[in-house]
């Protein structure tokens, strides 16, 4: 696809895509059940609850217990989807996930909304920026961070077909929609959004759109960016990454997450062994967030379009140098 062909068809929150996908997979698969820790509305799980009240369990503000109950439901053959904010889906319950879900290889789908600084005004207590790192360190955990409403909906449905623990991360704000409706979602398969020859941009989550906007601006300056959407951070599509990098020999990775431990580190780990090239991170630099509007926060914490532009130019200088 050409970069100029990528357009936004509207805006909706990725969490709304989750809510729509959860209802749809609930209709298709009677083994799917839901749990929430007092955040049904925030996660848009009310649609499923209204249609399947007997398959939905309100846990109250008790995330640790929710993860355990989900592990038990999975033991009996159900496919539980837990829903709470990303902060409470990971850091708060890391040991429950580690022992009762990951080590025990339970088929639990940990669905996490309000990830990153785009949660906005609630501030740093709720803006988790370490969750991808924590989850991808767990052996056997699949980690997915879709980029828009349509992709989140498709991912939400696709994970029911996979037998094993999954961390599905999405966000709060209304965000541009630019991937196709009713798309097929393949876990672990990177999506090639635009071809280019100068630099490979690997992006996940909200920042995929930011990178598209940056690349469109760079195209006007004669810089050709290849954009690849890494919606699945683990397992990483190594072949797609190496194919692109072997052509461009320069890399920018963008994610709404700490530079430590996220997609950038996953790709750096691959490239340092297989194909070392100049690389830049667009991510939060070892800092907590703060209250503010989503776009203000993205800008302040180094996750804006300007940061992608800078990273591309910097990496191209190093490539020449």
């Amino acid at each position: 696809m050409k970069l100029s062909d990528i357009v936004s068809t509207g805006k909706k929150a990725t969490r709304e895509g989750f809510g729509a996908g959860f209802l749809e997979i609930g209709r298709q698969n009677p083994e799917v059940v839901g749990l929430t820790a007092d955040l049904m509305g925030s996660l848009q799980m009310q649609h499923f609850f209204k249609e399947f009240p007997e398959r939905f369990f309100q846990c109250g503000i008790s995330e640790a217990n929710m993860m355990g109950v989900a592990a038990g439901l999975a033991t009996g053959g159900k496919i539980p989807y837990t829903g709470t904010f990303a902060n409470f889906s990971t850091g708060r319950v890391y040991d429950q996930i580690r022992q009762s879900i990951a080590y025990s290889h339970k088929n639990v789908k940990i669905c996490a909304s309000h990830a990153g600084v785009t949660l906005g005004e609630d501030g740093a207590t709720h803006q988790i920026l370490e969750d991808i790192g924590m989850m991808r360190m767990l052996p056997g955990m699949v980690v997915i961070n879709p980029c828009d409403y349509n992709q989140t909906k498709a991912a939400t449905m696709a994970i029911a077909e996979y037998d094993g623990p999954v961390y599905l991360r999405f966000g709060r704000p209304s965000w541009p929609i630019f991937t196709p409706e009713n798309q097929q979602f393949k876990i672990g398969k990177a999506l090639h959004l635009a071809s280019g020859k100068d630099v490979s941009i690997f992006a996940t989550g909200h920042l995929v759109w930011t990178c598209i906007e940056a690349a469109q601006e760079l195209a006007a300056e004669g810089i050709s960016c290849e954009i690849i959407n890494i919606h699945t951070i683990k397992p990483l599509d190594e072949e797609a990454i190496l194919d692109s990098v072997s052509k461009t020999r320069a890399v920018v990775v963008a994610e709404e997450h700490q530079r430590n431990g996220g997609l950038g580190d996953a790709i750096a780990n691959l490239l340092v062994h297989r194909l070392p090239v100049p690389m830049e991170y667009v991510g939060v630099n070892d800092s907590f967030g703060e209250s503010g509007k989503p776009m203000e926060l993205l800008d302040k914490y180094g996750l804006g379009k300007k940061d992608v532009l800078w990273a591309v130019k910097d990496v191209l200088d190093r490539k020449k140098g």
Binding site: F57, C59, A64, M67, G68, G72, T75, Q99, Y103
Partner: protein, 283 residues
Amino acid sequence: MADISKLHELCTQVRRDILRMVYAVQSGHPGASLGCTEFFVALYGAVMKHSPKPFRMEGKNQDLFFLSNGHISPVWYSVLSRSGYFPVPELATFRKINSRLQGHPATHEGLPGIRVASGSLGQGMSVAIGAALTKRLNGDKRWVFCLTGDGELQEGQCWEAMLFAAHHKVDNLIVTVDWNGQQIDGANDDVISLGNLPAKWKAFGWDVLILEHGNDLEKVIAMLRRAKRRTGKGKPVVILMKTEMGYGVDFMQGTHAWHGKAPNEEQFAKAMAQLPETALGDY
């Protein structure tokens, strides 16, 4: 039901197994393993409907058991093997490299009989509740059993689970608390007092049963059967089961000292002398 004298003999053999396993690797948790021997023998030998072979993770139309205080794995492994889940000689691999008998129970190596890993405390009751909900959703009339330690109740997740089970009327669940009053650093009352435990469970909406003699096999069997009759009435059921840590070996009894300590050669010989060989035979 199995002949009660056979179950008494099994209790003795399980105690021999526990001591031999822990002694062989000089690690493990003999105290509460010995204290819960009657409970495990009663559950697997006289109370639960269960099928060792083929072992199925989902356990449809069977009673399920979840161990929350995973450190007492020696007693569980012994009873599982002697109930036919895996070969008895495999007990010799306990805590050794490349074994399915991990220090704390795990599903990772595929040991039949284990449905979730435990060891990090406070998690098992939640998992048991989830399994009980699955049975309810599937119209499966069998029960889910869970054992938790008493010190373990200091974990906040236990109280979350208690609230949840009462709220959702999980009444096909029977939780037993190994109420031995001891934990690693000493008596519960010296570490963090649990206070009036029966009143607390009751206040959380559970049907509370108290078993004063958790090392009396017949009484454990009778209590577990009584608990089954109390299910299906809109409340989860808990048995607060008083046991003596280290029961069956005089110098290990009633103290926290043997929570996680292996006997030396002399202590081992002294302990084994109190547990006569059985027709079942050592592994």
